[in-house]
Amino acid sequence: MRMAVAQYYPRPSPIHRLDPRCKVVAVTAIVVGLFLRSSFAALAVYGVAAAAGLLVSGVPLGWIARGLRPVLWLLVLTFVVQLLFAPGSAFATLGPLHLSTHGLAVAGYLSLRLIVLIVVSLLLTLTTPPIALTDALAWLGRPLRRLRVPTEELALMVTIALRFIPTLLQEIDTIMKAQRARGASFNRGGPLRRARALVPVLVPLFILSFRRADELALAMEARCYQPGAPRTRLHPLRAHARDALLLVLVAGVVVLAEVL
């Protein structure tokens, strides 16, 4: 079963080794920067930075392309809409549709910006294990605890959910195969029939999931889990010189884009 849920692509690259908190900050800075300054020059700076990041990360281009596939229609839509409806003097007219150089520039700019945006975000999720990402977000969200937001608990919930997504997918796959061996088919008939065909999959899946949730809760209690209690970590987040370097580099990129 192929699904881009756990997109993490393990590689021994310098980008993978960076502190996830710094990566989140860096990506946020770039995304904000992308929207602050609308010029092709700024876009080029961010584009080069993203390409450099890609190169260093060692994630194959094909893998990035797979990540872009789900947003392909959005890209196409953005391009077409901007091309057709942006104001400006037309250089070609097809009935009610006007194509202008300005429209072409806007469409190209917006599509490219979207691509850079997605590649930069992918770079974060492809080089950071989901659990490290959750830890980073929990750390960065710590000021919210003052406002009584249960950040640690939220982070734990997300971690557990992420941890069990592959397990659930595996279970769905097994149950579907077992029911197919008993003559079930999941791709015949109209929507109603297809929905009904899922009952033999969903009932066992829910029963298994509730049972597992019960057992997990008991196991956590047996190991003295207390909601809200301060947690220590097996792998404490630690920033190194290379993380400082990343932040300096990204700050440089943003400043350069602003100045150009």
């Binding site: 756990a6 893998w63 195969k177 061996a181 008993r182 088919s185």
Partner: protein
């Protein structure tokens, strides 16, 4: 995926004829994120109709994958499956594929209906059998697994004990009148009494002419139930054929994270010829009686 054939009418007889299952050069890879892991490497096997074969191998050796490939739940990346000599796509292949009953590991996890009757009837109904044929198949299957319809048909599957649930899941497969039965680790996580019950049921089914392929770590039960064995390790068939002991057969099992059956080990330690160890404890006791 194969569409279940719609039989012309009521299936006749207690059980349909057995079928031969074979494969040639079967290779299969699993996608694991960025990498592909080869689960089977050029597997060549042939199971004659009505025979009982143990599929032995350590965890991760490819036993489950092989069973699912033979039943058409996975598509081979290389090689092909032959049912009665027919390849996939040939006339009659889908119908034969349907006659392979596959009992998954922990099959009680696939129970979903509100009553035992409805759960067992699921397969036959999917095949489009007439209500009378479905009823007959359900009652026959429930009786075959020792859950008589008059006492169990109306009960909720999850009100049954673990061993009963396992047998109910087996009934769900038997109701489709398979010619050969594949079982993936059928004895795992059952208590000793439930294992004995299940072994007796399988012995009965085998006696009725049903072919068995038993993927298991339980060599004692495999030896008691099966005429021959296949040793699979790391996706490769290491050896296939009748059980042989005394001439390196024990070492072969030990070398692949298995062990020789208890009776064989007993015979060896008593200084008897291991090759002559009887498959069952009762026969062994008789042979040893003073």
């Amino acid at each position: 995926m194969s569409e279940p054939a719609t039989p012309a009418g009521t299936p006749t007889g207690p059980r349909e004829a057995g079928l031969s299952v074979a494969c040639e050069g079967l290779s299969f890879w699993y996608d694991e994120g960025a990498t592909r892991v080869q689960a089977l490497r050029g597997v060549e096997l042939a199971f004659a109709p009505g025979t009982s074969v143990a599929l032995l191998g350590p965890t991760g050796s490819g036993k489950s994958t092989l069973l699912q490939l033979l039943r058409g739940l996975l598509r081979p990346d290389r090689g092909r499956v032959l049912l009665d000599g027919l390849a996939a796509g040939q006339e009659g292949y889908d119908e034969r594929e349907r006659r392979i009953g596959l009992v998954f590991q922990m099959p009680e996890m696939q129970l979903f209906a509100a009553t035992c009757r409805d759960d067992v009837a699921f397969g036959p109904r999917q095949l489009g059998w007439s209500p009378a044929a479905v009823d007959e198949a359900v009652e026959g299957a429930l009786a075959a697994v020792g859950l008589p319809a008059d006492r169990f048909a109306a009960r909720h599957p999850y009100s049954l004990s673990g061993g009963e649930q396992r047998r109910l899941a087996l009934a769900g497969v038997l109701a489709m009148r398979p010619g050969t039965l594949f079982l993936d680790e059928p004895f795992v996580s059952l208590d000793p009494a439930s294992r004995r019950d299940l072994e007796a049921i399988l012995r009965e089914l085998r006696g009725g002419g049903l072919g068995l392929v038993l993927a298991t770590h339980d060599v004692d039960r495999a030896y008691a139930l099966c005429e021959s064995r296949v040793v699979l390790d790391a996706g490769v068939v290491v050896d296939a054929g009748p059980w042989r002991f005394g001439a390196g057969g024990e070492d072969l099992l030990l070398a692949h994270r298995l062990r020789p059956p208890f009776v064989v080990e007993l015979w060896r330690r008593l200084g008897r010829r291991a090759a002559e160890a009887p498959p069952e404890l009762a026969a062994a006791a008789e042979a040893l009686a003073p």
